[in-house]
C-alpha cells in the first residue's frame, strides 16, 4: 500500500505515532513507536492497541473510553497531554506522555496518538524530589545538630546577621540576657540588648562601645581579637566575659553573619584581680610604719576597682572612733563624703552599722540599700538628701580584728557602679581587714617599743652632778637611722671624797641595748661601793657581761677623780683627748673590749689635769660620722678641739656639736656621746656659774 504524504512525514517524527480505527485496532505504527515499544510495524498493524501497549489493568477502562466517545462524541482523554503507563513487548512498563486526536473520515472515527517516552523526565523529577527531600532532611538534621551542639553549650552564643539583626541566641545566651524566648531576642535591637546593662567596661575600666564588640568589628571587616569585658547587669550583678566572634560565610564566600561566643570568666578574673589587689595591699601595708598613712593608701587602692567608696575607721585606746580615711575615685564625690561625715556622731550607735561592727567584731553586709534604710538612718532632711544623692546601692562594714580585739573597721560601699556586693567581696574585704589589723598592731607595737627604748635610754642619761672644781658638760645625739635606739651612755657619781665618771657604748640596738646599758650602769655603780679602782671596775663589769646569755659587749672608759690625782682605765673604748696649752693629745692606754675575750686585763693611767685643761671623752659615733665621702676621724676631731683651748666645757660641746652637724651629710647612723671635763682655773665667777648649771643637763640634739 502506497504511503500517503502524511504517513511519510509521520514516519520521520521523533515521537511515536500510532493510529487506530474506531474499534481500537492499529492502522498506523511509525518507526519511533517501533523503537519505543519494541514492536515492529508488521506485528502491530491490525491488532487491538490495548493488547499491544496498554497494561492489563487499564485495558477495560481504555475500551470503555472508546465506546463512550463513539456514543457521545467527546471524551476526557482527547486533545490533551496525558501521562500514563505503557507496556513494552518484554512486559516492562514505562511512563509515556500521550496526546490523542480523533478525526472522522468517511463516516468513521479514527484516532491518532502522539506518544513520548518520558522515562528520563520522570526519573529526573523523581531525582529532584528525592534531592529536595534529602535536602530538607539534611537541613532539619543540621538545624537539630546545630541546636543540639550550640543549644547545649553553657556559654552564651549569639548570631548577628550582616544587616545587624540579632537572629539567634542559645538558651544560655537568653538566660544571660534575662530574656524569655528567642522571639524576644529577635525582636530586640543590638542597642537595646547592650543598653539593658548598667555598665559595660573593658579590662582597663573604660566604658566599652558597641563598635568595639568583636562581632561588630567582623561585620565592619575589621580584625577581631577576643575582648574582655566587665558588665554590671540591671540587678547589680558583676560579670566578666571574654567575647570571641567568628564570621559565617555563605556558599559564595560572602559574609552572611557573625557568631559570637561569650565565655564567662568572672571567677578567674575576680580571683586574679583580687590576688593582685591583695598583693598590692600587703605591699602598701608593709611599706611604712605610719599605719594611718598606709590605711589611707589601702583605701585608695580599693577604689574604683573593688568598690566605689572605701572608708577606714579605727578605735583609739578609749574605744572612741577615729576616722582615718575615705576614698573615692572622683574628688567631687569626696566633697560629699566630707559633708556626710559631719552628720556622723563621734560615738556611733552601738546597735547598728559601724557602731555595731566595732562593738561585736562581726561584719555587716547590706546587699541592697533600700530607701527605707536611708530614711531610718537620716538625722534630718538635709542628711537624707545627702544620703540619697550619694546613690548608695550596696555596702558592707568589716571589722579589723586581731584575736578578740577589734582595732577598727573597713566600710565598703557601691553607689554609681550599681554593683551588689556579694560573698566573694565580703571575703576579700575580710582578708584586707585581717592584713590591715596585723599591720596596725605591728606598727603600734613597734612605735611602742621604740618609745620604750627611747625612754629607757633617756633615763640612762642621768643629769650630771656638780663636781667641785670642775665643769662637766655632755652631748648626746641619738641615732636616727630607723627609730632604733643605740647604746651610748655616760654617768658620773660621787663616792666618798672621790668622783667616778664613765662613758661607754653597748653594742647592739633598741630595747636589748637599752637593757644592757642599764645593767652596765648599775653594775658599775654597785661595784663601785666595794671596788674603787677603775681597772678593777672594768674587770668586774667584764665578768658580769660574760655571764649574760649571748654576746654582751661593751666599750667603756672609767675615770676616777681624787683630790690629788686622776686615774683612767679604758676597755675597748677610744682614748680621751686632753686639751692643753701644748695642743690636743690622746691619753691613757688601750685595754680590751668588755665581755669579749678570755684572760683580758686592764691597766690604769694616772693623769694630770691642770687647771684650765679639758679632757674630752667620746664614743665612736663621733669619729665614725660620715661626711661627704669620708669619716670625721680622729685627726679632724683633734683639729676641732685644738681651737677650744680657752673655752668652757659647755662651749667645747657646742663647738663640737656644730662641727659634727656641718660635717655629716646624712642621718646619724650611730649614737654619738661626748663628755667634756674641764678643771676650773679659779673660783668660778657668777657668770660662769650660770653657764655651768646650764651645761649640766645633757644637750639632746636630734641630728638632721
Amino acid at each position: 500500500m502506497a504511503k500517503s504524504l502524511t504517513e511519510r512525514l509521520l514516519d520521520r517524527a521523533h515521537g511515536g505515532v500510532v493510529s487506530l480505527d474506531h474499534e481500537g485496532v492499529v492502522t498506523y505504527w511509525n518507526p519511533s513507536a517501533e523503537r519505543m515499544f519494541g514492536i515492529e510495524r508488521g506485528q502491530a498493524l491490525g491488532r487491538p492497541v490495548a493488547e499491544l501497549i496498554i497494561p492489563e489493568r487499564f485495558r477495560a477502562a481504555h475500551l470503555a473510553g472508546i465506546r463512550r466517545f463513539l456514543a457521545e462524541g467527546a471524551g476526557p482523554m482527547l486533545d490533551r497531554r496525558v501521562e500514563m503507563a505503557a507496556l513494552r513487548v518484554d512486559g516492562t512498563e514505562f511512563p509515556i506522555e500521550m496526546t490523542i486526536t480523533a478525526l472522522k473520515a468517511s463516516g468513521r472515527w479514527t484516532f491518532t496518538a502522539f506518544l513520548q517516552d518520558i522515562t528520563w523526565r520522570k526519573n529526573a523529577e523523581r531525582e529532584r524530589e528525592r534531592l529536595v527531600e534529602e535536602l530538607r532532611e539534611a537541613v532539619r538534621l543540621s538545624e537539630r545538630r546545630f541546636d543540639a551542639i550550640v543549644g547545649s553549650l553553657n556559654d552564651p552564643v549569639t548570631i548577628r546577621d550582616r544587616h545587624d539583626r540579632l537572629v539567634y541566641a542559645n538558651p544560655a545566651a537568653l538566660a544571660h540576657l534575662g530574656l524569655e524566648s528567642l522571639k524576644d531576642f529577635r525582636s530586640a535591637t543590638p542597642e537595646e540588648i547592650m543598653g539593658s546593662y548598667r555598665g559595660v567596661y573593658g579590662g582597663d575600666g573604660r566604658e566599652v562601645s558597641m563598635s568595639e564588640l568583636p562581632s561588630v568589628r567582623i561585620l565592619h571587616g575589621e580584625p577581631a581579637e577576643p575582648l574582655l569585658i566587665r558588665t554590671i547587669d540591671r540587678h547589680g550583678k558583676e560579670r566578666w566575659s571574654l567575647l570571641k566572634a567568628a564570621p559565617l560565610l555563605d556558599e559564595s564566600g560572602e559574609l552572611e553573619a557573625t557568631i559570637m561566643v561569650t565565655e564567662d570568666v568572672t571567677e578567674q578574673q575576680r580571683a586574679e584581680r583580687r590576688s593582685i589587689f591583695l598583693a598590692r595591699v600587703s605591699e602598701v601595708l608593709a611599706s611604712s610604719l605610719d599605719y594611718e598613712q598606709t590605711l589611707r593608701n589601702v583605701a585608695e587602692l580599693a577604689v574604683p576597682e573593688i568598690v566605689d567608696w572605701c572608708a577606714v575607721d579605727l578605735l583609739d585606746e578609749d574605744g572612741d572612733r577615729v576616722p582615718v580615711a575615705v576614698a573615692h575615685s572622683d574628688p567631687e564625690r569626696l566633697q560629699l563624703a566630707a559633708e556626710l561625715r559631719q552628720y556622723e556622731p563621734a560615738e556611733p550607735d552601738p546597735n547598728q552599722g559601724l557602731g555595731l561592727v566595732l562593738r561585736t567584731g562581726e561584719p555587716l553586709v547590706y546587699p541592697e540599700i533600700r530607701d527605707e534604710l536611708l530614711v531610718e538612718a537620716a538625722v534630718d532632711d538635709r542628711h537624707l538628701e545627702l544620703l540619697r544623692s550619694v546613690g548608695l546601692r550596696s555596702g558592707a562594714v568589716v571589722p579589723m580584728r586581731l584575736g578578740a580585739r577589734t582595732l577598727g573597721a573597713l566600710t565598703l560601699v557601691n553607689a554609681e557602679s550599681g554593683r551588689v556586693l556579694d560573698s566573694s567581696d565580703l571575703e576579700l574585704a575580710q582578708q584586707v581587714a585581717a592584713r590591715a589589723a596585723v599591720a596596725i598592731e605591728n606598727s603600734r607595737l613597734y612605735s611602742e617599743r621604740a618609745r620604750i627604748a627611747h625612754t629607757l635610754q633617756q633615763s640612762l642619761l642621768s643629769e650630771l652632778p656638780e663636781i667641785p672644781g670642775y665643769e662637766l658638760a655632755s652631748l648626746y645625739v641619738p641615732a636616727v637611722a630607723g627609730t632604733e635606739v643605740g647604746g651610748d651612755f655616760y654617768d658620773a657619781w660621787q663616792l666618798g671624797e672621790s668622783w667616778l665618771i664613765t662613758i661607754g657604748d653597748v653594742t647592739g640596738k633598741g630595747v636589748e641595748a637599752a637593757a644592757l646599758t642599764a645593767l652596765v650602769r648599775h653594775t658599775m655603780r654597785a661595784t663601785s661601793e666595794f671596788v674603787t679602782s677603775p681597772a678593777e671596775l672594768l674587770a668586774r663589769l667584764d665578768r658580769t657581761l660574760k655571764k649574760q646569755p649571748g654576746r654582751s659587749l661593751c666599750t667603756a672608759l672609767c675615770l676616777r677623780l681624787d683630790e690629788d690625782r686622776t686615774t683612767l682605765s679604758v676597755g675597748g673604748h677610744p682614748l680621751p683627748l686632753q686639751i692643753t696649752t701644748k695642743g690636743v693629745a690622746a691619753v691613757g692606754e688601750h685595754g680590751p673590749l668588755l665581755g669579749a675575750f678570755d684572760g683580758a686585763r686592764w691597766n690604769e693611767t694616772v693623769l694630770t689635769l691642770e687647771p684650765g685643761e679639758t679632757l674630752v671623752s667620746y664614743t665612736d659615733g663621733v669619729i665614725d660620722a660620715i661626711g661627704d665621702g669620708e669619716r670625721y676621724g680622729l685627726a679632724r676631731l683633734s683639729r676641732t678641739l685644738k681651737g677650744c683651748r680657752a673655752r668652757s666645757a659647755s662651749a667645747v660641746i657646742d663647738v663640737l656639736a656644730r662641727a659634727l652637724e656641718q660635717f655629716q651629710s646624712g642621718p646619724h647612723a650611730d649614737d654619738t656621746a661626748v663628755l667634756a671635763l674641764r678643771r676650773l682655773a679659779v673660783e668660778p665667777s657668777q657668770a660662769e656659774a650660770r653657764e655651768d648649771s646650764a651645761a649640766r643637763r645633757p644637750a639632746i640634739t636630734i641630728g638632721t
Partner: protein, 112 residues
C-alpha cells in the same frame, strides 16, 4: 649620702676551705651583707674559713662585734677561722683599740 668606698665581697673555695676577701667599709650599714653572705656560704662542707680583711678601708664596732661572734661560731661548731689583718689604719684601729687584734685568730700575712 655618699659612701666613702664601695663594699665588695669576693670568694674562692678549694675543697673544704673558703677564702673570702672584703673590700670597702665594714660598718653598721654593710655588716649584715657580709653576715648574710657567710650564712649562705659556710655550710657543713666548709671546715676552714679565711676572712681576708687586707683591703678593708674602715671597720666600726659593729664590724668588730661580727668578727667576735663569727669566732664564737667557729669554736662552737668546730671549724677553723683565720683572719688576715687590715692594712688600712681606719680598719685596724678598732681592732687595736679593743684588743681584738691579739684575741682573735689573726694570721701573719704570708704575702707580705
Amino acid at each position: 649620702m655618699v659612701r666613702p668606698s664601695k663594699f665588695e665581697i669576693n670568694q674562692r673555695s678549694t675543697g673544704s676551705t673558703l677564702n673570702v676577701s672584703v673590700t670597702g667599709e665594714l660598718d653598721l650599714q654593710t655588716v649584715h651583707v657580709l653576715s648574710e653572705h657567710l650564712e649562705e656560704s659556710v655550710g657543713r662542707e666548709i671546715t676552714r674559713l679565711t676572712l681576708d680583711l687586707r683591703e678593708l678601708a674602715f671597720m666600726d664596732s659593729s664590724g668588730l662585734r661580727f668578727l667576735i661572734e663569727l669566732n664564737d661560731r667557729a669554736r662552737q661548731h668546730g671549724w677553723q677561722l683565720r683572719l688576715i689583718s687590715p692594712r688600712h689604719e681606719a680598719a685596724a684601729l678598732v681592732l687595736r683599740v679593743t684588743g681584738a687584734d691579739a684575741a682573735l685568730p689573726f694570721q701573719p700575712d704570708s704575702d707580705r
